[in-house]
Amino acid sequence: MDVIDGLGQGFAVALQPINLLYCFIGVFIGTLVGVLPGIGPVSAMSLLLPVTLSGTPESGIIMMAGIYYGSMYGGSTTSILVNIPGEAASVVTCIDGHEMAKQGRAGPALGIAALGSFAAGTFAIVALMLVAPALARVAIAFGPPEYFSLMVLGLTILSFLSQGSMAKSLLMATFGIVLGLVGIDQITAQARMTFDRLELLDGIGLVPIVMGLFGVAEILFNLEQELRRDVMQARIGSLWPSLADWTASKWAVLRGTVLGFFLGILPGGGAVIASFASYALEKKISATPERFGKGAIEGVAGPEAANNAAAGGAFIPLMTLGIPPNVVMALLLGAFIIHGLQPGPLMMTQRPDLFWGIVASMYIGNAMLLVLNMPMIGMWVQVLKLPYRILFPLILMFCIVGVFASGNAAFDVFVMVVFGVLGYLMRKFGYEPAPLVLAFVLGPMLENNLRKSLILSQGDFTVFLERPISAVCLLLAAVALLAPLFPALARRRSRFATEQT
């Protein structure tokens, strides 16, 4: 099947009324959680994971994907108007976006963010469409050693790029693997770390862990301090950027798009890193770097394009290798697994309707987002005025309901509360939850591929070094692990972590 045939089949799926509805719900909720500080795409996706059970797999996945790229769009609104990033990938947009708003140029800032995001999102979908089939053909040749090494690389890079101490991030990754292995052993059927609880035989659920670590922990952390929001009272004005704005932004959008897309594909990468890298790049190559931080439109256009392109690029490793490159994609993998599907190189041939349906829905979703973001900014500003003291009890209630609905077990609510407290303490002590969640999802696959590799090689560890792809992945992982020992690399990493903070 060629790309055009596939896309035709995809549009036939995506344009079904029910899938259009799910796509709209996804991008709408995505924009909403992007706008609202205190709840991000990870929390929203885990909250809505149980809802996907009621429909077909394609409807559910289309909605989940919509939440992700929708939140990338919505996040810019709060960054520009309130100077509070709605989600992590929009942190950098605050710097120049809010400065533009203070200068009475909120309209062009919001406009270029929406239009740049649209252009980047569209590019990412076209690239996904062209790259994914080729990569899937290569991935068929992957065996257990390659998968094991690729997952090790993903976890190591994510830990390397996390804020603060790398030892702490790796510690979280190892703990995540342990949590992922709780339950019945896939090979010997022996119960592991279940403490004689029947509820743990199937393992700990993804939803209670994620809702606890991100949803409940975020609320506990926010409750500690008064959230102050200073929504712009001035008129937003015309959203359409001027000719001068376009001239200044066009190359920033293009550079951000390409950079973001490739950073999105990399294991451990994602929208947050892409937006920071794009901002750093724009500042570095600008003839007038002193304008950055004082309302330079390139400082909004580049990062916003980059985070949207990264959101699209991140689908490639998931769809072609079955390996999620970041936490959001790990949740999407969870949604696939709940429906009894395994994304990977065979998905394109076995379930082309699903693969191409998701790709086509992303085109439609991007167009919907442009319509949602441009004329409805006034409505999103009103949403921002909803007091947190009303919002947080409701978010807590949705967490409880979402967790209960995912497994129909009150035990899961308890697990969520425990992980909520753990997540809160982790934040206080400077431990990152993202490596934990990614490792939790990858844990069973990681162990399975390790054991299979050792069984196939008769216990010979050199199998990981004899195969070129596996060897390269392990070599890169080793470089990331040893980076703190090299002063130049360690300085670069700590500078990046400080910028992120």
């Binding site: 703990f175 052993d185 609320i219 500690e224 003291r389 009890p393 509360v417 809160y424 206080k428 002590f429």
Partner: protein
Amino acid sequence: MIRNSEFWGGLFWLAIGAFVIWVGRDLGLGRLQEPGPGFAFYWIGIAMCGLALAVLAPALVSRGPSLASLWTGTRWGKVLVVIALLLAYSVLFEAIGFIACTLALLLVLMWFVDPVDWWLAIIVAVLATFGVWAALTKWLKIQLPAGVLAGILG
């Protein structure tokens, strides 16, 4: 050293790592040609202990933020109350039921934890609780525990 938050964090994860090693040995390591169910646990536990020591060791020789400083100037009392409320909710959820538990939780949060006008709290709590109940049970066909209201709700 004893007040250093990094020290206590490292010690906690060292204990968890040691426990994971013990679990791995208990489950059985197997052989390299045929790794047992505890093989991964054992080696991950060792890695955890090594990483925990990497966090702990600097805390032994240098000064870091104290445990108390992590909560200085914060509204930590509210956090404790919310944690207690959530734990109580998770224990009572099945016995008392979704509607009674959720109404009580929302009202306590909006009356006492981070107060809003009492009438607004009632409106939000009632609308949210019954709205979610109706959406889940009627639309998504998900059964929520009826608890003490089982007779009324059917």
